[in-house]
Symmetry: C2
Subunit: 253 residues, 2 copies
Amino acid sequence: MINRDIAATLAKGLDALACFEQRGGTLTMPELGELSGFDRATTRRLCLTLEHCGYLERHGKGYRLAPRVLSLAGGYLHQIEAGRKVQPLLRHAAETLDLEVALATRDRMQAVYVDRAAPASARVTLGLSVGSTLPLLHTAVGRMLLARSAPETVQQALEQANNRPHTEASQMDPDALRAAIQTARDQGYCLARNEFETGAAGVAVPVGALDDTPFVLGVTASVNRFDDSTTLDRVLDVLRHTAISVGRISADA
Amino acid sequence: MINRDIAATLAKGLDALACFEQRGGTLTMPELGELSGFDRATTRRLCLTLEHCGYLERHGKGYRLAPRVLSLAGGYLHQIEAGRKVQPLLRHAAETLDLEVALATRDRMQAVYVDRAAPASARVTLGLSVGSTLPLLHTAVGRMLLARSAPETVQQALEQANNRPHTEASQMDPDALRAAIQTARDQGYCLARNEFETGAAGVAVPVGALDDTPFVLGVTASVNRFDDSTTLDRVLDVLRHTAISVGRISADA
DNA sequence: ATATTATGTGCGAATATCGCACGGATTGCA
DNA sequence: TGCAATCCGTGCGATATTCGCACATAATAT
């Protein structure tokens, strides 16, 4: 390792963990070795250590993520007071709008749900929960996050190797994407239709307090839900109102 | 390190992470050094590495958990299909019972919420969300989990150094606790009142599929809610029904 | 102004890690 | 059943990494 400030073994272990995150499910040691590129013996020691520390558990022949990672996430959620303060606000917004509402932030080159609430009437759920990740380029929350991120981040997002269309409607032109992000920044909200899931649309607004890391609030619905500008205005109104309240929480953290 | 199968540096780094989980919030390097017992230089390198890998982020002078841990938890939740399959079942149960319903499992010596749902009418929320941890000894879910765990685990739970009463009603006698756990095992459910939060009571039932790690389903309500045996029976009925459905999911994973 | 505490850096000694090579166990296939 | 192909555990020497001190600087409190 060139940099003496980075503990190589720790970094490797964390990379190994990340392999389980991407390919959710069980991985055998040979599979993990292949994915991570580590020697078989190294892979073995990393797995044993991660198991010892509770982050992995054996499942049949292989390993998979253990509940330990949930507790860790719980620590994060606790620190931003997700359970006690954010959740009620999201619930209220969800009931008021009769839409699924989520608080999201950015984890590297993905959007990640921090908390969410669905109205009681929710018929169809997208299956997104706390910790679910979404692409930055083709979702409303993702673009709104990029709109609040540093230019380098936007650049990186556009240049990513694994950028691929999710639907036929997914915008793939870098200039158009950059424009969409700029529009989101200018008008203070982002609307995306059909680009991630055909038939679905999302709206996102920024959350007040810019706690170094940007947060956004988003809703998801069937694609025609936001066609009417009166409806859109109402959604934006409630979202922005909620965003201010949410922002007030993380401000004094 | 005595054991050549455990990568010491990785273990240290994970221990450092765990420090942030317990003392949710921001930790400065000296504080972390104190907590973890590592040398200042070591602490520094671990922090830099964890930051480099995205698990920690700077906040003012110190470090705190980064959204990265959420994505990791997302991987776990995805693997048990929490979002798509479990959530709807919990929602339905919550609405039917008009109670907060949670799926929990055990992470070392704590119960941890895997998923939860609250009815639309929820007035008071306990502030527990995905990843929230609860004590094993003084909650219904905790005792039900212990009832399904190995005897050594129960023993460890009883012998823990940091066992302390959470309310005046918290049962602290090891024999009585052991009896309560045995009762839970025998009757297939667990009821606990006032032992964790004064004024609150919980009911828990085991989840069908014993996927090596035990899962339980629990509800929480104000303490008098389960006094009436008819009500309790109805709650148990719905919970057990839900438990079977949930068990069917993780069975084929 | 001075004491105290936090932070950054360099380096030699100590040692943990790497990766190979070997043997045994398990699995799949003919 | 026998054979082939993996998979898994272990030992060990060479190497690279980590440790922890010591020094220097910066920030903060007294």
